[in-house]
Subunit: 218 residues, 2 copies
DNA sequence: TGTCGCCTCCACTCTTTGGTCGAGCCGTCC
DNA sequence: GGACGGCTCGACCAAAGAGTGGAGGCGACA
């Protein structure tokens, strides 16, 4: 009785990585892949996998909508969904869980944690990444946040220029203002911003600002 | 930098078991033991351990009360507490988390999970047993609020509804998402946002987010 | 030398946002 | 009753933001 997994991420490279990790586990089998929410829903309904590994940020229908369609309230044959994203942004977490996700992992999790998480979710239990758990508990307990010196790996992936743009962005500057300050064209700034959003797995500059504050970048 | 652990359980045999498990880990050290809540609090305040391994059911002051004393809201130097119990009884879980616990494990957890949990909690993160997580998620689906406000004069000019919109906006929600959450049309949200921006004399929602963070609204 | 990553830029979409004017509904206060 | 403020909504418009698919220059590195 192998656990059948459906991979959903818009980056084929990432799917390949996951597939390789999972192929090393005799009890796990990747039965399909999807690059966007719509085809994920379609595939999941057809293949009926035990667990869907779902990215949040995707073109078209995003992971949360797809999760809602597969595991949300009112779904007759809910399929277990394990969310995967770069950050544990509060809004994403809450929305994902509300959408019916059975777990929430960060993409920088070690491989063994990932496979273990899949087994846990397949078994009908649930699991959150420690940093996500902490934030959730902070809400429940409404306790003051402790001074944590979190290092966010994905932030390190940003190039110098991208980081520079992010900092200016987080101060409330528009693309045009950033362009003026860096003495480049607005087009260039837009390119940087787009890449920053993609790398950080977030939707728009507003969430970038929030991230900058949450991670202590500002 | 070893992690200093305080064991709290009314059964000496169990404490011995834990001590043996932890002694196999070079980075963990048991610095004390207690058999009831009162002495646990006293010991913890004196020894200032990195993590307290706390049983729930104990004679006299129970583990939840002790946790509240050590990590609850209003405590100046909170000590991290990892709850340990035989069952994941719902009331216990919620009360424990509300009391400030950083984690919740079942006593039948394998040794490696336990030591890993201690490391996670020591690092300032949090962790719940999968079965506990499952139940918690089931109820989380229906709560949100917190945060108190008005110390900034301009913020006081905002109406209740505008403040509500501002808070959601500051969490990264789009107009459409805010509309959905408040069960109004997107047009209405846009009206509110416009008025908020005008009253606060700022240009766009990005600056609103910044203001929310700077003023401690978030 | 060739490849690669980073930075730069343009053109072209499409969506979102912000602003404006107008409108109706429902309370409270006078 | 009438005035007023708050909340709601629609239509329309201009601007900004975001995504895509290119492109060239440049330095690093094998």
């Amino acid at each position: 009785m192998t656990t059948r997994v459906l991979l959903v991420d818009d980056q084929p490279l990432l799917r390949t990585g996951f597939r390789m990790i999972l192929s090393a586990e005799p009890d796990l089998a990747v039965v399909g892949e999807a690059g966007d929410g719509a085809s994920a829903v379609e595939l999941a309904r057809r293949l009926k996998p035990d667990v869907v590994l779902m990215d949040i940020r995707m073109p078209g229908m995003d992971g949360i909508q797809a999760t809602r369609a597969l595991a949300g309230p009112g779904v007759e044959e809910p399929i277990k969904v394990l969310m995967l994203t770069t950050f544990g942004l509060d809004e994403y977490v809450v929305e994902s869980l509300r959408a019916g996700a059975s777990g929430f992992l960060l993409k920088d999790a070690p491989a063994e944690d990932l496979v273990e998480a899949i087994r846990i979710v397949a078994a009908g239990e649930a699991l959150l990444a420690p940093s996500v758990t902490r934030r959730l508990l902070d809400r429940v307990a409404s306790r003051l946040p402790r001074a944590t010196d979190d290092t966010i790996p994905a932030l390190a992936e940003l190039t110098d220029r991208e980081m520079e743009v992010l900092k200016l962005l987080a101060r409330g500057l528009s693309n045009a203002e950033i362009a003026e300050k860096l003495v480049v064209s607005e087009t260039t700034v837009k390119t940087h911003v787009s890449r920053v959003l993609a790398k950080l797995d977030i939707r728009d500059r507003v969430q970038a600002v929030i991230l900058a504050y949450e991670t202590g970048l500002v």
